[in-house]
Symmetry: C2
Subunit: 291 residues, 2 copies
């Protein structure tokens, strides 16, 4: 496994890959867990070369303000990636990635940028889009592997590569869960035992929404109300938002959804203790659920 810290070296390395076959890429902010391992293994299975990026010091990157307060072991992440036999790990130095005088931002507009995670976290959409654009130029991947857990990030990146004509394809893998449904996340280690027990209510609420929809319920308010009521039974879980929306645009569904459902994202976010928890499930109009 080759570790690259230098932006120039990454550029040179990626240039050498252009004639070498397909390059798979897993962008991360470190704190790697089973969800990331699934992404890495998919890349290793399907691409000739696999690269993982770790943007350490996410506050500086404006990338995930939340994670800055977590205890972090880069060594642990590197060990894990080494075991998987990743080809390259790219850990750009913040002062090189965003040098003095840095003055271009990739700025999205519309609900995808402004709602939900965009409303909850300042600069969320812009910093994600800017960092991803830069990483895609540096690593020049053919395939980018993303987790469905961050549904809004997936939608943002999908729109980004389409609008800016970046020649990468995305592969989105399902959320990895504990036995009780808890979506795996680096933040879960920060939960107290009672908080840990409370969080899976989010997933159960999503499944309750799914059950209502499967029974034929199409009134958005009825479905949302049932899900919100369920979450309210756990006083440790402070709901931020609950949404039934288009998974590509993040436009809310109409008040009454059609009998034959289009693609539909059920997304939820909440505060639990010191952590922010997000989860979602996805109905594909092809006729199946991604849970």
């Amino acid at each position: 496994m080759h570790i690259i810290y230098d932006v120039e070296e990454m550029t040179e390395t990626a240039r050498g890959w252009l004639a070498a076959g397909s390059v798979g890429f897993v962008p991360t902010v470190g704190h790697l867990h089973t969800g990331h391992v699934m992404l890495v293994q998919s890349s290793l299975l399907t691409c000739e070369l696999s690269a993982v990026s770790i943007l350490v010091n996410p506050v500086q990157f404006g990338f995930d303000e939340d994670q800055a307060h977590y205890p972090y072991s880069l060594e642990g992440d590197l060990q894990l990636l080494d075991q998987e036999q990743v080809d390259v790990v790219f850990i750009p130095r913040p002062e090189e990635f965003y040098p003095a005088g840095f003055s271009f931002q990739v700025t999205p507009s519309g609900p995808l940028a402004e709602r939900f995670e965009g409303a909850a976290r300042p600069h969320y959409a812009r910093s994600t889009a800017t960092a991803m654009t830069k990483l895609f130029q540096l690593v020049r991947p053919d395939v980018v592997f993303l987790g469905q857990k961050n549904a809004q990030q997936v939608a943002l990146i999908r729109k980004l590569v389409r609008d800016l004509n970046i020649d990468v394809s995305l592969r989105v893998l399902p959320t990895v869960r504990e036995r009780d449904g808890l979506a795996i996340s680096a933040r879960n280690h920060l939960l107290s035992p009672s908080e840990r027990q409370a969080v899976p209510i989010l997933y159960r609420a999503l499944l309750a929404g799914k059950a209502l929809i499967e029974k034929g319920e199409r009134r958005r308010a009825v479905i949302e109300k049932a899900m919100i009521a369920m979450i309210a039974t756990e006083p440790l879980v402070k709901l931020d938002y609950m949404a039934l929306c288009d998974p590509d645009t993040f436009e809310l569904m109409g008040k009454k959804m059609p009998p034959r459902l289009p693609d539909l994202l059920l997304a939820v976010a909440a505060r639990v203790g010191t952590t922010r928890q997000v989860d979602n499930i996805l109905w594909k109009s092809d006729g199946y659920w991604l849970t």
Copy 2:
């Protein structure tokens, strides 16, 4: 010569080039003239493949609002490029290049974006940066050929590829001029005979500034005043700005410049008849002028 209108076809074609050797690229908004021919010939001489893009309907592209009113013959441009034996001409369809729901902009900040051309033309910097980012993703060039005449565009693109880590190198060619110093431009055809005779005062003013600097004058105001006074002798030429600035950042020089000059751009813009005229000369601290 292969003409590509389709964004998807351009992506596929460029993907095929990745293993094929160096790709040279000349981005244009059509209205090709001798200046463009020089860029194209440099590409043909130094790269294995050469591509030219023509963004027609520039208003829609927000790319050069000015040119929309010019009579335009795409056929003429294509004939010229065919004679030069360009490999590919890319003429994206506006509705595909900026599709419905397009929602990402590449947004620069700072003097480079806000001053001079940025102040004179709405969205100048943002639309340039966004269009160039997209073209670079689509064409995937190794070398981009630009004319020094559009000094601010050169500086913007230089900063863009650095900040977003786009792996292209820039080659900037000197301004091509008529015998009397007039910088060649598509707009010159719109000048009346008397206007045509008046415009070269801009270049003569730049050369007057150069002469003062060579004599040792370092007071910015003195140099500017002399140049402005010279331009004022031509009533048909309405000065917009005259600037002594850093050619990379477009920060104005200090009031008193140092004896040993750093890189220095003398830039001018004016209205002449219905046209907007820009020109510049450049001092390189290596010890020579680009005029």
